[in-house]
Symmetry: C2
Subunit: 196 residues, 2 copies
């Protein structure tokens, strides 16, 4: 009798990301503006290539500005509600550095084109990154219909209280533009159909 219950999970980044990563792997991203351009570019490509939602994220080494790992939203493509760009980037960084705790490996920063939702806030805290940099606001994502979840009112203060540096509104107009263009083009706003 075959076992009908799955025992394995797999995730592959979209094919366009492989050459993109190769082109970015030797570069140095010296400041948060340069790093946010990477996250926004990932979100832009993800929409243009129709591989997912308008969200991009990346993990950088703050000591030398190297790109460690990159993620895009793959919820629909990978059939997994947890595959937000931030979780994808953090998971790949943890795989690359061979640890569940990035703080034990060095000084790493998560840069995300849109502020983390409730789940990604928790994933950020658990990941061991020491710094979080955000582009568009959660309200910008909610303005086109996405649900950020019941985040703590003072979530950035809560993160800082736990030792994370937090910067918001870095290149917010560019990051917000990706959201608006996605909505204007009729991109799917996938939400769990709770109580429907």
């Amino acid at each position: 009798m075959p076992l009908n219950m799955p025992t394995e999970l797999q995730l592959s980044l979209p094919p366009w990301m492989r050459p993109w990563l190769r082109a970015h792997s030797r570069r140095r991203f010296a400041d948060v503006a340069a790093r946010m351009e990477v996250a926004v570019e990932l979100a832009t490509h993800n929409v243009a290539r129709r591989t997912g939602g308008p969200f991009g994220a990346a993990v950088f080494d703050r000591r030398d500005g190297r790109l460690i790992a990159a993620g895009v939203n793959l919820v629909v493509a990978a059939r997994g509600a947890h595959w937000h760009a931030e979780v994808v980037a953090l998971a790949l960084a943890q795989r690359r550095l061979r640890t569940h705790d990035l703080a034990a490996a060095g000084d790493y920063e998560l840069v995300t084109s849109v502020e983390p939702c409730l789940m990604c806030l928790g994933a950020t805290l658990a990941s061991g990154v020491r710094s979080l940099v955000c582009g568009a606001r959660g309200a910008d994502a909610e303005a086109i219909g996405f649900d950020e979840g019941p985040k703590p009112t003072h979530w950035s203060a809560e993160l800082r209280r736990r030792g994370l540096a937090v910067q918001r509104d870095v290149k917010r107009p560019a990051a917000r533009r990706v959201l608006r263009d996605y909505a204007a083009a009729g991109g799917p706003i996938y939400l769990a159909q709770r109580g429907a």
Copy 2:
């Protein structure tokens, strides 16, 4: 030049879970007490087999009581801070049902041996389960040193407001016992070393 950046993620359940799943795949779990016994048993096995932390979770079909998918905490083993038992169970259920939105597929329930942390609250909301059943309290996990994160004070009310049924304290003493036994045996309390 080989690409040093990872582009794939994989997760395998511990080998002991395959026969365990086979033994449970044809059974029916009629009520929340029977389902919680499954989650607590998963947590117990995960500690005894030394495959991870003292947390177990499972997704059930509320229409017929079938077990759809099961998860245990694999943070350290799989080197991924996001592989909490709830995320593993939800991800496997979404894979089995071929959708990111379990609400679109039917009436599913997440049963977890310990209340969800901040990240898992978000993952639960995003998953499309219509019901959440919890054993031990978040405070029970924090009592042995785990960090639940800055959860909304009235998180169960927030979930109910979004259409999820929530039951707490189902077989709490049995679920709490797994936590206490784990701590007493010196099991690792993995936390991101933020600000260390």
